[in-house]
């Protein structure tokens, strides 16, 4: 086992900067997720750690060793590929044992280790089959077994669940969690699926356009996104954004968009009074948008808006309703038992205590409805929000 440390790593493909000045520390034994949309550089980052791509600039450490110029075979890593990349001409047994044979282990040792891993992953009956005789889920487990059996310093996983159907994916996610609990090996996991990232990761790094946006534990990532991109990327359905003017009237701070004028929370007011700009982006999670007559604790009656319902997406457990006020749309989560009529008027309660204000130009979070300090005392959380992990080394 080992920590993995990336120091100011760059990757360029011709003129395209795939990874820009990335500094990351993955702790020993940690399940670390690289999350981002396709083309954000997360897979390139993983491939650089694996040694399958050269590093243009910067340094990669595995343990205390600089591995920039080390061949993948000498890095003591194991990787699970998106398409599993099983050796089609070898049986499941040979697929799993290939790495051990290359290391010159004794036949009996190899057999013992393969049998152990195979029984662990439910592959014992399949050892003589060829990959093409296996289902997608079985192939995925063979790929995992091939990585596990080597007992490497680091596991690298490149969207290993993306080729499974939804039901199998949920099951496999559970298996991965169990696996990491039993073999707490440093794991770096790439995905574009925020649900996977949130459920699996001890910590999650969000990337966009080759740059790191935020590194944090899933809960802080959700509660205190460092910028508008992270706020919009993490959470389903995505956060509502609306451009607002910041008004300061008689000591009370308001956020205004058209006819809508909302008084901010005390925590927001403290920060916004010192904020130099008069425009900002307000972010409200659909979870904080409720029907007023359904809500028991309404903190502030000025947060009730008159809206019209537009579209309703029924999910069974709940319904996402798209409300419109003036020219903007607000998505809210409504209890499934409630029937929502399209085009009807509703009183909607917008709970600003969970909202965030972002800088309109840079997208950086300016303040939140509930300050991290207050949240900490409420939930016992610690704010570790930072754009880059500077505690490394």
């Amino acid at each position: 086992m080992a920590r993995v440390y990336l120091e100011q790593v760059w990757k360029k493909f011709g003129n395209v900067e795939a990874v820009k000045d990335l500094t990351l520390e993955v702790n020993d034994g940690e399940f670390f997720v690289l999350l981002g949309p396709s083309g954000c550089g997360k897979t390139t980052t993983l491939r650089m750690i694996a040694g399958l791509e050269d590093v243009t600039k910067g340094t990669i450490f595995i343990g205390d060793r600089v591995v920039n110029d080390v061949h993948p075979k000498d890095r003591d890593i194991a990787m699970v590929f998106q398409n599993y990349a099983l050796y089609p001409h070898m049986s499941v047994y040979d697929n799993i044992s290939f790495g051990l044979k290359l290391r010159g282990l004794a036949k009996d040792d190899i057999k013992a280790r393969v049998d152990e891993v195979a029984s662990w992953l439910g592959l014992s009956e399949l050892l003589n089959r060829r990959p093409r005789e296996l289902s997608g889920g079985q192939r995925q487990r063979v790929a995992l077994a091939r990585a596990l059996v080597r007992q490497p310093k680091v596991f690298l996983m490149d969207e290993p669940l993306s080729n499974l159907d939804a039901k199998l994916r949920t099951q496999a996610r559970g298996e991965l969690l169990r696996l990491h609990k039993d073999f707490p090996t440093t794991t770096i996991y790439v995905t574009h699926d925020q649900v996977e990232a949130m459920t699996l990761g001890d910590r999650v790094a969000v990337m966009m356009d080759g740059s790191l946006q935020q590194v944090d534990n899933p809960q802080m990532l959700y509660l205190y996104p460092s910028n508008q991109f992270v706020a919009g990327f993490v959470g389903t359905p995505p956060m509502n954004f609306v451009e607002v003017s910041i008004l300061n009237e008689n000591g009370q701070v308001y956020l205004q968009h058209g006819t809508v004028k909302l008084p901010v929370t005390n925590d927001m007011a403290v920060m916004l009074k010192e904020y130099s700009k008069d425009k900002a982006m307000l972010g409200i999670r659909p979870q904080d948008v409720h029907l007023a007559d359904e809500t028991r604790d309404i903190e502030n009656n000025d947060w009730i808006l008159h809206c019209e319902s537009d579209v309703a997406e029924r999910l069974g457990t709940e319904t996402y309703v798209h409300f419109t006020i003036d020219d903007f749309e607000l998505v809210g989560r409504v209890s499934a038992v409630r029937s929502v009529t399209m085009g009807a008027a509703y009183d909607v309660y917008v709970d600003l205590s969970g909202a965030h204000v972002f800088d309109s130009q840079t997208g950086v979070r300016v303040c939140s409805g509930t300050s991290p300090e207050r949240m900490e005392s409420r939930l016992g959380l610690k704010d570790t929000t930072h754009v880059q992990d500077s505690s490394a080394n």
Binding site: G51, L52, A78, F81, Q82, A85, Y87, P88, H89, F98
Partner: protein, 306 residues
Amino acid sequence: MSKVREWLTAYGFIAPAMIAILLISVYPLVFGVSIAFTDMSVFNYLSHGYKFIGFANFSEMLTDPETWILTYRTVIWTVINVFLHVSLGIAFAMLLSKPWLKLKPIFRLILILPWAIPSFISIQVWHAMFNEQFGAINQLLTMIGFHAIPWLTSPTWAFLAVIITNVWLGVPFMMLIALGGLNSIPEEIQEAAYVDGASPWQTTRYIILPLLLRTMVPAIVLGIIWTFNKFDVIYLITQGGPQTVVTLAGHQKVMGATDLLITKIYKTAFQYPNSWGAASALGYLVFLVLLAMSLLNLQIQNFVKE
């Protein structure tokens, strides 16, 4: 009644194809077999003076030591050629698919060229290059201080000359097949092997080559059949010569040092002794060997699929 009509309609539809197959395929085959049991030759064919002689052609063929020398030589010829075609083809294909190689399209064109030129032209060029006095190869060798090589007059060198020519002719085809095969192997599999701890050589040895050879099995079998029946190279470069005396089981026999079964068939039919019957019998020996090869190929393909 309607059953018969149905039957007639069905056979009416397939009749043209059946007649074509009978004419082009079955009739020549049967006719060929029938010749092998006669003493038919260029001298008695028109006068219908040939007669049924039973298995005489076959027994003569099987007791003639030359038949076995030719069979043995044809097998050696095929093994050497196909081995070099496949291994050089794979080697070139692997070089051509290296990402660091510059000017790839030019190299590819140069390597495919031997295949694109009509083979009798390139064989004639090789024939000229092998000329002992004026050929380019010997000119070059003497220029750098070696002795001229008797390419076409020494039995061993002549056999080498026809092999060199045929290897040069056959590599591009195998290279193209190998290039296609290499492209069909996902890069991820190679990367998985690297991560598993395989060196580039081990990756080639245990992953790339086995996968590549599987895709090449049909082409290799085709190559074996083509090479086994390769006529033009031998005929245009050495005509089966030079003539050499072979002693076998106490008998002395003059035979061509580079003759293969196929050139022997040609000579038997159209030169001395002009015996079509004997040539046909030899033809069936070749046919049986290749039939066995094809059946083996089917077995291999089934095995590879598993």
